[in-house]
Symmetry: C2
Subunit: 297 residues, 2 copies
Amino acid sequence: MSNQTLAGYSAEHKALIEENMIQFIQNLQAPESLKEAMVYSLQAGGKRIRPLFVFAVITAFKKDSKIGIPVSAAIEMIHTYSLIHDDLPSMDDDDLRRGKPTNHKVFGEAHAILAGDGLLTYSFQLVAEMNHPDVTSDMKLKLIRLIAQAAGAEGMVGGQIADMEGEEKQLSLKELEYIHEHKTGKLLSASVLAGAILSEGNSKQLALLELFSYHLGLAFQIRDDILDVEGDESVIGKPVGSDEGNQKSTYPALLTMDGAKEKLAYHIEQAITALDQTGIETELLISLTKMIADRNH
Amino acid sequence: MSNQTLAGYSAEHKALIEENMIQFIQNLQAPESLKEAMVYSLQAGGKRIRPLFVFAVITAFKKDSKIGIPVSAAIEMIHTYSLIHDDLPSMDDDDLRRGKPTNHKVFGEAHAILAGDGLLTYSFQLVAEMNHPDVTSDMKLKLIRLIAQAAGAEGMVGGQIADMEGEEKQLSLKELEYIHEHKTGKLLSASVLAGAILSEGNSKQLALLELFSYHLGLAFQIRDDILDVEGDESVIGKPVGSDEGNQKSTYPALLTMDGAKEKLAYHIEQAITALDQTGIETELLISLTKMIADRNH
């Protein structure tokens, strides 16, 4: 796929998800100050990687990607709530996120906590309320289970705890992979699988896509660690070397920079190998995957 | 219903829900420190009013109350997460809850925030994973929508925001009722309605039970305000008069103590009137409702 086609697909679906997320929140019968705090962080930009994978998998199954709007909005809201809570003073204590003041810096800590709680709660309502003739009740329940498991104690929240507890200590590669698989991998994986559930993929396809997304998630994180060392601060939106300053274990620190880059290439290759066996149209997904391996922010 | 029968029913179902909640969390594949923080607050006691109403409504429909275990666990987990987050330094900044140190006092703020996030997320998974021959997929989705709406920006989270923003200012009765209806009323109402959904109540019964639970919720809150003035600190577990010290608007402050007591009696009467028209067995529910009006903690 040409870079131009990929950029067009991404831009179109980014706009689609951003508009819809804001609309969903504006429609809530809730205090304006709360909605404002929720919308602020949803509008704070970002790559929208998770929604893009929901849409791209549906497109790869040759279905109408619009069927993925509520689920990709739900997953992006969960991702957004996790950033709001992670940025709090008692967590990572970040003042800036993507170059903008973090939620609690603008609205105060209490509102930030509650805006996060509201986004998380609403994400499940969005999936349960989906209204599309091709989406059955059983599909919705499967999606809710998938997303809750990926986001909760067995997934992202558990990974965040492991990450915090692993700070300031030297982690093994296995411990580092546990953290990434849970903190970021599971929700990315849920995005891929959600697209497949909405497209009525069979169980073999789901298993292969789970494998694909496992490698995709690790590749994403290794690239993040590499960028933290090599990236351009004005492009990545956080101080370069901030992980090093925090004494965080990273792939380059554990494997050397060359080792990390080899590992990145390995996971991308494994991801594509799994994808090739699914029997779906792989071109778009491969392009997105390579974009992750090569991204500079 | 005799006080003894009511006490027996309550004790039996309290034990049932407490055992099951702990078991659900213990079974999670998650970091032990996270599970410990989640279990700590679930074990911190409390009246378990919400689970009791789920069970009591099912009993009133002459069904097996055990069918309500996952849903009442989910609702109690949401109530518990809300207490953990409310107690945080940036929110109410409470060191004690029911006479025990609050979650963040024991586990630190970051773990408390994440334990709350984990409980909220898991509650939806619990409902989606329910496995009972009488519970259809459509019932589960109805329950998830009900609970998410009651707990989120349009319910409890919105009420918490309104409560915070209403502190230190003189509220009208209407504003006070908005806060209570959302902050505590909606989730209590969801408990009553969840029991009715699980019992396959018809739409007229659901509407009457919604009315019942609206009055029940306000009665519960008025009693709370009265107890704050008249209660015995060692029994209610927080300093008597703490609302007054916080300059919080309360029913006795707005209506005088006699006025508040009249209003309490009015809502209890309205609740029972609605209940009487449902055609279900009302004895247990009336006893529970009166218990709320008369409780001393």
